[in-house]
């Protein structure tokens, strides 16, 4: 069982990820798109029911929407979010820990210069044991 330890930064429980297109996209990859793996930084968020990734990155990978989900956000009425499928792996201590294929929603509110480009939600955390050591500014999760 992989055990991943990370730091709690000003942004929260921050973790490095690699994302790449799923096989269905990769074998039909068009040359102008990134076929990954693309390193990004995400924040684990127990308040998010879903995982959301910067739309900019999803588009750069040449992914197309494959589903929709009704989503409530802090502002406004329920919206329909575009869903994309990708593969992801966590990276900790220089080691890559394959996770799985995941369906994520596209989110626009990650600024390009922002340190993190993803919120990792309970769709992922529900498969993990997650410990948050606030006083030590560390977290650990295992899956």
């Amino acid at each position: 069982m992989p055990i991943i330890t990370g730091s709690i930064t000003r942004e929260g429980a921050t973790i490095d990820l690699l994302i790449e297109p799923v096989e269905a996209n990769r074998k039909r990859a068009r040359p102008q798109f990134l076929t990954g793996p693309i390193p990004i930084r995400g924040v684990l968020d127990t308040g998010a029911a879903l995982t959301g990734i910067s739309r900019r990155l999803l588009l750069a990978m040449g992914l197309e929407v494959i589903d929709t989900k009704p989503v409530r956000t802090p502002v406004g009425p329920t919206q329909i979010a575009a869903c994309y499928k990708l593969r992801s792996a966590f990276v900790s201590g220089g080691t890559r820990y394959a996770f799985a294929e995941a369906v994520v929603i596209a989110a626009d509110c990650f600024e390009e210069q922002e340190e993190h480009q993803a919120l990792i939600g309970r769709d992922v955390l529900d498969h993990c044991t997650f410990q948050y050591w606030g006083t030590a500014r560390k977290f650990q999760f295992a899956y």
Partner: protein
């Protein structure tokens, strides 16, 4: 890469725009799909106003769609009676400037 380069629908912009036509089709065919217990929980492949098949997994529905249409926006949706809204703590649309 600018979002304007994306040739698909206006994602996340509202109920009527993200795969709007496909969702309309899904809502239209859903009662018939739910009436067949063998189809409940499986995945439909919808493009535009046509349903192209029911598949055991979402990956199979996506593969079938890409084989047929290439890598384009399509709906590979699980057949369920009702989808409850899920919470995401950030805005999913373009941030106001």
């Amino acid at each position: 890469m600018s979002l304007d380069n994306f040739a698909g629908v206006d994602h996340n912009a509202g109920m009527s725009t993200v795969l709007g036509k496909e969702l309309e089709t899904y809502r239209r065919v859903l009662p018939g799909l739910l009436a067949d217990p063998e189809k409940v929980g499986k995945y439909v492949l919808i493009r535009g106003d046509e349903l192209f098949g029911v598949y055991p997994t979402q990956n199979e529905a996506i593969e079938a769609g890409y084989d047929r249409f290439g890598v384009v926006p399509l709906l590979a949706k699980q057949i369920v009676e009702r989808e409850e809204p899920l919470f995401f703590p950030r805005m999913i649309n373009q941030c106001p400037s």
